[in-house]
């Protein structure tokens, strides 16, 4: 496509930013009075709802200066909850990257009876309220569970809850990519003498990697901030199974806003980093297409 075609298209879709005309005419993409008012209301709403509260968290964390923030996050209890939460989230992310890709593969490339049911079951963790998810896991893996395995109050129990709520992320991110993947490329590789494993490593893996990474990043962020599904099974044992969200709640309820805000700021920072990473990744993938 030539530059001129691009400009012509830009002209049609109004994506070329250009200065407003001198008269009263509005080009596609220019804000009308109505749209301007709408945008103003929207931004005000977002400010009250998102920007101010986020600013309050950060301001709260640094209320006593950087020293206060540092003291808060290096406090024994805070440090152990942060280490545990990050570690558990990382573990869950790795398991998800592997199992999520595997499940997506089975859903797309395999055919067997009951596949539709599997599709629906995958979505349950998304739709199920987190507190119910916690209850669900306790029923089976708690003190009165049928298997005699009691994970309540154990780190394994927390990891299990996190695996439950983050199950769909990688599956749903990889699945469409596998569906769109060109089977002919694999067949071409096979015709060139590549073995099944080589095809997987050299053809399929590079195709799905961006989707795996983006799904994994989302599940990491989610696991890091998870609260509802964890509190029942973790029993909230300090220094053992207490996750960061529980710690923040405990601090705010015991009137220690700086401690709460400091750990919250840390979680916020990680979330922002993950979002930026995803944005970069998506841009790069979009360019490759």
């Amino acid at each position: 496509m030539s530059l001129l075609d691009l400009l012509d298209r830009a002209d049609r879709t109004g994506t070329t930013a250009s200065p407003a005309p001198r008269g009263r005419g509005r080009r596609p993409g220019d804000l009308t009075t109505g749209a301007g008012i709408g945008l103003g209301i929207g931004v005000l709403w977002l400010s009250l709802l998102v920007l101010l509260p986020v600013a309050a968290i950060v301001a709260g964390a640094f209320q006593d200066g950087f020293a206060g923030f540092w003291a808060s996050i290096t406090d024994d209890e805070a440090l152990s909850t942060i280490t545990f939460t990050v570690g558990a989230a990382a573990l869950v992310t790795v398991v998800n990257a592997v199992m999520g890709t595997l499940i997506a593969w089975v859903l797309v490339r395999d055919r067997f009876p009951g596949q539709r049911v599997l599709e629906v079951v995958i979505d349950i963790p998304f739709a199920l309220p987190t507190i119910v998810a916690g209850l669900v896991l306790i029923t089976l893996y708690g003190p009165s569970g049928p298997f005699g395995v009691n994970l309540v109050g154990t780190r394994a129990g927390v990891v299990l809850a996190l695996l439950f709520v983050t199950l769909p992320f990688v599956v749903r991110s990889v699945q469409p990519v596998l569906i769109d993947a060109d089977r002919e490329v694999e067949q071409a590789a096979a015709s060139l003498g590549a073995s099944g494993f080589t095809i997987f490593r050299r053809v399929i893996l590079p195709t799905v990697t961006p989707a795996v990474v983006s799904g994994a990043a989302l599940s990491f962020a989610r696991a890091l901030g998870e609260f509802g599904s964890v509190i029942l099974i973790s029993a909230n044992l300090i220094g053992e199974t207490q996750v960061s969200s529980s710690y923040i709640l405990k601090m705010i309820e015991s009137q220690e806003p700086v401690a709460a805000a400091s750990v919250a700021t840390l979680l916020l920072l990680v979330a922002v980093v993950v979002l930026v990473l995803l944005d970069v990744l998506q841009r790069r993938t979009a360019r490759r297409d």
Binding site: A17, P28, D30, A35, G38, L39, G42, L46, L49, V50, L51, P53, V54, A56, I57, L102, W105, D110, R111, Q115, V120, V121, I122, D123, F126, L128, P129, T130, I131, V132, L135, V136, L137, T139, L140, Y141, G145, P146, L163, L167, R172, S173, Q175, P176, I179, A221, G225, F227, L232, S246, L249, I252, A260, A261, A264, L268, A271, V272, L275, D279
Partner: protein, 295 residues
């Protein structure tokens, strides 16, 4: 974090070829068998069995005790409050999502990308952090606390705070659904309507809204699922007083924490109700998906 919910997911499996052809073409090899069994066992152990066991556990003593819980005053109050909070939150998010979605797709203005990123932020952070953030601004000792108190408005430990928390955790769900639909539909139908004499209002009602109606419906169902089930953020800002500021998810938690057989039964009965609603919503979403694609 539920934003992946918003992705067009779970495409229906393509129609399978006749059985004989299929068998000849693809014999399930040992590797495929292993993958299939691993995937099934994982999902079965992690999701399917636990969910099934809750149903079994809820009805272990028959229907009567469950009904007793479901007609108890605390439960009904929690259900009413949940419906109220989720209802308001969904309406707010739908209006915001449709309006902001159109602005982001159809207009060019400075800060557009930043705005889009800010909308995604709340669902990417811990719901507890969302709740704490609201307290730091609107709580009695928060930035606006004194001013709100003077005005006699109570936000935190009251319905407005719970609505705000719920709105935040489901903020982009409607928007993220309609943005791709709007982009795909393009601007020409609206321009055609304009050259036929339609003003902005008429274009919105007669052209834009019908174009995105299934995406809006899908986003509304997603927001509803998220709003009904929100726990962490609401837990922080509600105070959770039974019969007063207790939503269904809080009811489940508080009942379970009481550790008596009656309380346990109440927790499971309420959890079952929430689960049933969730499953219904999943089915509605599955039904909406193909329509959205064809419209």
């Amino acid at each position: 974090m539920t934003d992946t919910l918003a992705r067009p997911a779970a495409p229906a499996p393509q129609p399978a070829p006749p059985a004989r052809v299929r068998r000849a073409r693809r014999r399930t090899g040992p590797v495929a068998w292993v993958l299939r069994v691993v995937a099934l066992l994982y999902v079965l152990g992690l999701v399917a069995l636990p969910v099934a066991s809750v149903v079994q556990h809820t009805f272990a003593d028959g229907l009567a005790p469950v009904l007793e819980v479901l007609t108890s005053e605390d439960f009904l109050a929690a259900a009413r409050l949940t419906a109220q909070v989720a209802g308001i939150a969904v309406v707010l998010n739908t209006v915001f999502g449709v309006g902001m979605g159109i602005l982001l797709v159809r207009y060019r203005f400075p800060g557009r990308r930043l705005l889009s990123a800010v909308i995604d932020l709340p669902v990417s952070i811990s719901p507890v952090v969302v709740g704490v953030a609201l307290i730091l601004v609107y709580g009695t000792t928060g930035w606006f606390g004194p001013a709100l108190q003077d005005a006699g408005v109570r936000v935190i430990f009251s319905v407005p705070g719970m609505v705000m928390a719920t709105v935040l955790v489901s903020l982009p769900l409607v928007l993220r659904e309609i943005v791709p639909t709007l982009e795909e539909a393009g601007i020409e139908q609206e321009q055609a309507a304009q050259s036929l004499g339609a003003n902005a209002w008429q274009r919105f009602w007669r052209v834009t809204l019908p174009t995105i109606r299934w995406a809006v419906a899908y986003g509304v169902v997603l927001s509803l699922a998220r709003s009904l089930g929100e726990f962490g953020a609401v837990r922080v800002v509600s105070g959770s007083v039974a019969g007063e500021s207790q939503t269904l998810t809080l009811f489940v938690n508080d009942s379970y924490q009481e550790f008596g057989p009656d309380a346990q039964r109440a927790a499971f009965a309420a959890a079952f109700v929430l689960m049933a609603v969730a499953v219904v919503l999943i089915v509605v979403i599955a039904a909406l998906r193909p329509r959205e694609e064809t419209s």
